[in-house]
Amino acid sequence: VGITSQSGSIRVGTSAEADLRTVSGHVELQRCDGRCRVFTKSGRIAVGDTREADISTTSGSVAIDRVIGTVQVRSVSGRVSVGSSAGGPVTASTVSGTITIRLPPAVRPSVHSAGRGTLKSGFPPGDDVEVHIATVSGRAELVAG
């Protein structure tokens, strides 16, 4: 499904693949069995379960319950929360927002961080999943969940 709106909000139940974008509205996608791509300028983004996710927002918040595979999130100032099954690399970037990545408790991620922000991780290092975090002044945290 592909929907683009200037100001309206978008709500989608289950989709094989999705490209959803709105300038000022919100986006809610309950489930995506393939790749989902979502963009808002200022609206919040809520995604349930998805296989792959490519999410961008300027000032909206991003909440992804669970991504099975690759996930990439670009945010300027919003709050980002991503649940990953550690089945693919996790990339999250923000200028001044906060990033929370939830990973399975037993996972040993390979964490790469860039920028001047702060990163907190309680996981032992390993190579189970690649996690890339970039922040200019934001905060990032990897938590079990």
Partner: protein, 177 residues
């Protein structure tokens, strides 16, 4: 520096491109004015290296640009080069930097160094719905491109209703393939 279109010229046909540095306001707030200025200098440098001779910087709009190209292949190649340049800057500085680009091929009326018209407004609206790191193009751009010879590919977003534009517009995401 913006260059004037030929004096007294009627409507000019070409590819009209809007670019925007995503998060420039926030970047300036957290890194300061001097670094923001450096970022714009970086954009200028990247543009200098990718703008063909016959293209024009119509105007700078804060951190954004209005560019004009006589044909869309050069416009797309320039957009991809800018994206690549910003990605390389991000990788080397560790600072997340993206631009987004929208373009449309049509006609516009010169007004001094500026361009005026519906097709300019449409191009700006297309840039509005481009995500960070994306190049979006209208059908008028796509139909002038031969993917096989240019190695430029398009995936459709579908018809999009845009503010102030009476008819839905077919939009395409352009990528190098």
């Amino acid at each position: 520096m913006a260059a004037a279109f030929p004096g007294g010229s009627p409507a000019v046909e070409g590819t009209i491109v809007f670019t925007d540095i995503v998060g420039f306001t926030e970047y300036t707030a957290v890194r300061g004015d001097a670094e923001a200025l450096q970022l714009l200098a970086t954009q200028d440098r990247l543009l200098d290296g990718s703008l063909p001779g016959e293209a024009r910087i119509v105007k700078e709009i804060g951190d954004g640009l209005l560019l004009w190209f006589p044909e869309p292949v050069a416009a797309l190649r320039c957009a991809f080069a800018l994206h690549g340049g910003f990605e390389a800057e991000s990788a080397s500085t560790g600072v997340p930097l993206w631009i987004r680009v929208g373009m449309h091929h049509g006609r516009a009326l010169p007004r001094g160094t500026d361009l005026i018209g519906h097709d300019v407004n449409l191009s700006a609206r297309i840039a509005d719905v481009a995500a960070p790191g994306e190049v979006l193009a209208s059908d008028a751009v796509r139909t002038r491109i031969d993917p096989a010879s240019t190695r430029i590919c398009f995936s459709e977003l579908g018809p999009v209703v845009m503010k102030g534009i009476p008819e839905p517009v077919r939009l395409w995401r352009a990528t190098e393939c």
